[in-house]
Amino acid sequence: MKKRLHLREKIIKNVCFVSSLTSIFFLAGITIILFKEGLPLFKGISFAEFFLGKSWYPTFDPPDFGMLPLFVGSLWITFGAILIAAPFGISIAIYISEFASPQIQLFLKSTIELLTGIPSVVFGFIGLAFLGPFLQKLLNLPVGLNSLNASILLALMAIPTISSLSEEALFSVSRHFKEASYALGATKWETVIKVVVPAAFPGINTAIFLGIGRVIGETMTVLMVAGGAAIIPHSFLQPARPITATIALEMGETVVGSDHYHALFALACVLFILNLGLNLVANYIFAKPRRLTS
């Protein structure tokens, strides 16, 4: 009887162990494939040509594999999205954790979570069919598919991430700080802005970084609304083509094993490294000794 129990526990423990190994296995596998298929590109062209080249004409003869407009496009749209999403997300978090009554808290939290449930292709469709023509008329542009359109929609996707993580960070600030602040005569508003928010800063920072990570990998929406012009954007009213949209657009028709194929994988490697970097930085900030929270 005791032996059977012991064996069953051993089996369960090992099954769980194997499951965790499989996720590491898949991650390692994906990384290896990305680099295995992406690095052969550099046999034919130099790193400088790829990273700093300004024209992306992969099917031309001879082809140009300059990814700078695509890379800058990704960064530009992400920057715009966070510029909109961060203030909104943080203010929502502040309101929910400091000022809202419990019923409103619950209502707001569930409504914002609903935003995460909307598929990205639906956002893309809204951008194509409504936001695009609207921006076109409002700002007198030749076409409404540009970085601004993409940034607005991506901000809508990032706001739930930023607000829920920021709200958690704000919530975990120790009561003692708030009480000490009130004891010194500060108003609620002063307490929130000058004590609570700075104390929750590491957590809010993590929230923003994770929001950036969410946005930079977004493919379907930017494919449909960012315009698709492979130029280095100088303003938000210009169309742009991020890395994700380029990969989605061109992967279907490349010849497997060709330079174009390797170039697209190289783009994926860049995206992967970017995302990895963001996650590492976010973790580092998050793991810093949190002196101000309980």
Binding site: P69, L128, P142, G228, A229, L249, M251, G252, E253
Partner: protein, 272 residues
């Protein structure tokens, strides 16, 4: 109770393994060009209705994708809206595949503008100049004083390839062109943007956009089939070697009168 659950789970797992092996139907996998996809799908539906033994699975993914699958052996027919490239032929030779292109329909590429645009006819040279970025305003083409918005496809689409070969003739498309993922997206943008110009497959023409005459020829099934319309191309179904068995039956069905009617219904041009 616990033992019963265990038995049920094991039986389910066992069934999951056995069932795929016991497929009695003839399977056919068709993969490739999104342009040819509507033809393949419609034809497959009718074919399966007529032959209960047939089980045809049709997928998109792009011409390059389809040919790659044919080389890998993961599909039986590769739909392609362009002819096979030299690089792909070399890959075929390495894997011992002999690609045979079976033309199943003709397709024309219509150049389209917004319905309110007064310009109704252009020459291929003018279209080329617009797409390279040399001409930037409609007034240079006899239209209104409006900035031209160039809409195109990504450079690896079969539709783009034909456009590049027959209109661009080796010149680079301006990087400011808005590259879209499909015929449908291009037509949606044209229908809502006054200054836009773009190109779509014949089957995607509708009331929301206006097709212009190219070199004096209107884009319609007669001119494409007869060879008068300058921007036209054959649509292929590539097979490994000459078609045999059910692959042969399916392609012969598309070549038949009923099959060619399906081709016309989908908006393409039947073979003359």
């Amino acid at each position: 109770m616990k033992k019963l659950t265990q038995i049920i789970i094991l039986t389910c797992l066992a069934l999951m393994l056995i069932i795929p092996v016991s497929q009695a139907k003839d399977q056919l996998v068709v993969q490739g060009s999104t342009t040819v996809l509507p033809i393949a799908q419609a034809a497959a539906e009718v074919f399966m209705q007529n032959n209960s033994q047939a089980d045809i699975s049709v997928r998109g993914g792009g011409s390059g994708n389809g040919i790659a699958a044919l080389i890998d052996g993961t599909c039986d027919i590769a739909d392609a809206s362009r002819s096979i490239k030299v690089k792909e032929v070399i890959l075929c030779q390495k894997k011992g595949i002999s690609p045979v292109g079976n033309i199943v329909a003709m397709d024309g590429i219509a150049v389209v503008v917004h319905t309110s645009n007064p310009v109704s006819a252009l020459k291929t040279d003018q279209i080329k100049d617009v797409y390279t970025g040399k001409i930037t305003n409609w007034k240079e083409l006899g239209g209104e004083d409006l900035e031209i918005v160039i809409v195109g496809r990504d450079s690896s689409s079969g539709t783009f390839e034909t456009f590049e070969e027959l209109v661009m003739k080796g010149a680079k498309v301006s990087p400011a062109a808005l590259a879209q993922a499909s015929n449908k997206t291009v037509s949606t943008i044209i229908s809502t943007t006054k200054g836009a110009i773009g190109y779509v497959g014949l089957g995607y023409l509708n009331d929301t956009i206006k097709a212009i005459e190219v070199n004096g020829v209107e884009a319609n099934p007669e001119t494409v089939g007869g060879g008068k319309y300058p921007i036209s191309r054959p649509l292929y179904m590539y097979t490994d070697g000459a078609p045999e068995g059910m692959v042969k039956e399916f392609i012969e069905f598309i070549w038949s009168e009923e099959g060619q009617e399906i081709v016309t219904e989908q908006g393409f041009v039947a073979l003359q």
